[in-house]
């Protein structure tokens, strides 16, 4: 079962420069563990205290997982997962 995961520029040093890699899992949590197995260090950049970091967005088939299950959001063969760091900042 292969799920395509799109990697943002800033995290491509974990994937040997690849813009997208394949991973496996039944939900996003498992998918991230699977990614970590092949691309060590990636998980820490995505999660903090077992939650998705505030300024990291993860989408499954164009849906932000914050709005449907978070790390429990289900994924399956042929799904596309996109990881994008937030574009944010502030003057304080």
């Amino acid at each position: 079962m292969a799920i395509e995961v799109r990697i943002p520029t800033i995290l491509r040093n974990f994937t040997g420069g690849e813009r997208a890699v394949d991973a496996e899992g039944a939900n996003v949590s498992q998918l991230i563990d699977n990614l970590e197995g092949n691309h060590q260090g990636l998980k820490e950049r995505l999660l903090e205290n077992d939650e998705v970091r505030r300024f990291i967005n993860i989408y499954v088939n164009d849906e932000d997982i914050r709005f449907f299950g978070g790390l429990d959001a289900q994924v399956g063969d042929g799904d596309t997962v996109v990881i994008l760091p937030a574009v944010a900042g502030g003057s304080l």
Partner: protein, 169 residues
Amino acid sequence: MLTIDQATHDAIVAHARRDHPDEACGVVAGAYGSDLATRHIPMLNAAMSPTFYEFDSGDLLRLYREMDERDEEPVIVYHSHTSTHAYPSRTDISLAQEPGAHYVLVSTRECGNGDGPFEFRSYRIVDGDVTEEQLRVVEAYTDVPRKPVVPPPPRAGGHTTATPTELEQ
């Protein structure tokens, strides 16, 4: 150095003035590897705040997909400060995640919504290090020497022999 055409520069300033006192934000995309900021995309500040900006997560996904389809990248990521200098804050620095982009800061603290003076500055922000860079405003990019075209990294399923270092350039 950031080279930017006058029309894009003016459009960014106009956006910042319009959204004052909230922070305005957006991107100027350009062909991958060209370092030419050609397509201005004003973004909605989902935080609608005078002290914070954040692209809406759905808008963010659409933006990056569109750039991907056009073989573009974010050449400029800009936002405004409405009561402070045009210098990246600690928050700006810790959240900057596009090491290849020029981070443009516009301050509207003097002009507000009006035609008064503004600041327009450009920075590189890489791994928490901020470097201000020279700004050159040109009438058009026709006078700018073109960089050799670097093909973007391959899409899903593709293979590359390029090193990550080459891909970042």
